[in-house]
Amino acid sequence: MNSASLSFIFIDSLLINNLVLAVFLGICPFLGVSGKLETATRMGGAVIFVMLVSSTLTFGINRLLIAVDAEYLRIIAYIVVIASTVQLVEMFIKKTSPALFRALGIYLPLITTNCAILGVAMFQTFREYSFIQSLVFSIGSGLGFALALVIMSGIREQLNLADVPNVAKGTAIALMVAGILSMAFMGFAGLGSN
């Protein structure tokens, strides 16, 4: 069993090993929906929410699979659980809070293909986190994803006004910006060595 303290797991997943900028998970939505600040905030919110729900569920599934000695089904079980979670969450939100549903819009179904969700589930299994640790890890990771997305979209909104050479427009310049951002986040690495 992993014995890292909860606050360390939180800071680690939020800043030091930021999901997007250090572990490279969820790059597709990171590059895809970071064009506008508003959409980025919504996507971030949706991801935090789904991540929390799915990591709780996958924790239970993993225990169940270990109990029945069927660990080889892990990948299949996880992906099915995540896909159906997204679907359930979508229906639930639609029923209980139409306003939130409208705000999240298309981003909710898109999350199924976000590798960050499956990644968080796999990482918590790999590192053998306890239930509380998994919860903290998933909240930290979700917040970290939202943070990176919001910062990136802020930069890209400014970048639209800048005079970028034609060849570098689009993905290439976004990757360069992400690289610099990731370098900035490396500064947090010092927080980890105590």
């Binding site: 250090a22 490279f24 990948i75 590798c115 796999m122 060849v167 990757l175 690289g179």
Partner: protein, 217 residues
């Protein structure tokens, strides 16, 4: 796609170059950035992805007329995750260091958009033979891109290629290339190089066309 579709060679070459999944379509970025800090990891990841791509394309193409339209995506995901599980266990059996280095990213092949994308866009509409060709093309294109990144990052970041030192003892490795930000920079630079090359080619083509027009008039 009609009977008079593209020839076999062009299906194969399509993924390799013209529609290279990484450099042109910019798909499947997560593994591209995450595991390319050494050539060995890049090759392992490229081969695993290619295996999953070829096998799942074959199976998807085989069952394309049996599976009802409503549940096709779920079926594809099940097929893909089955093969990913196989790869996961094979790598664990063959090489523990590679397994440790790739870690959870093997499982993440499931959500690699290239595989589901090819299943949906090509294998579900084409014969088995053509789907295999397409999957091989895409897989080799993907591995090639991984290799491009892995080579640059390992040579500059560690001064080695496949673990063999390339430079003398006075070489100071650029650690930044092994770190996450180096991945972003390298991929950005490759994309830049590609679009530069493409722009020059189109400019040359238009110049040649103008020149031909001038000569004709």
């Amino acid at each position: 796609m009609s009977k008079a579709g593209p020839s076999q060679a062009s299906i194969f070459l399509n993924g390799l170059w013209k529609e290279n999944p990484v450099f042109v379509q910019v798909l499947g970025m997560c593994p591209v950035l995450a595991v390319t800090n050494s050539v060995r990891n890049a090759i392992a990841m490229g081969l695993s992805t290619m295996f999953v791509l070829v096998m799942s394309s074959t199976l998807v193409s085989l069952v394309r007329n049996i599976v009802p339209k409503q549940v096709r995506i779920a079926t594809y995901i099940l097929i893909i995750s089955t093969f990913v599980t196989i790869v996961d266990y094979v790598i664990k059996a063959v090489s523990i260091p590679v397994y440790k280095a790739l870690g959870p990213f093997i499982a993440l092949i499931v959500v690699n958009c290239i595989i589901l994308g090819r299943a949906e866009a090509f294998a579900s509409k084409n014969s088995v033979y053509r789907s295999i060709l397409d999957a091989f093309g895409m897989g080799i294109g993907f591995s090639f891109a991984l290799l491009c990144l892995g080579a640059v990052r390992e040579i500059l970041g560690a001064g080695t290629f496949l673990g063999v030192p390339l430079f003398g003892p006075y070489f100071e490795p650029w650690i930044i290339f092994l770190l996450p930000s180096g991945g972003f920079f390298t991929l950005g630079a490759w994309l830049l190089a590609f679009s530069l090359w493409k722009e020059r080619r189109t400019r040359k083509a238009t110049l040649a066309a103008e020149h031909a027009q001038e000569l004709a008039s």
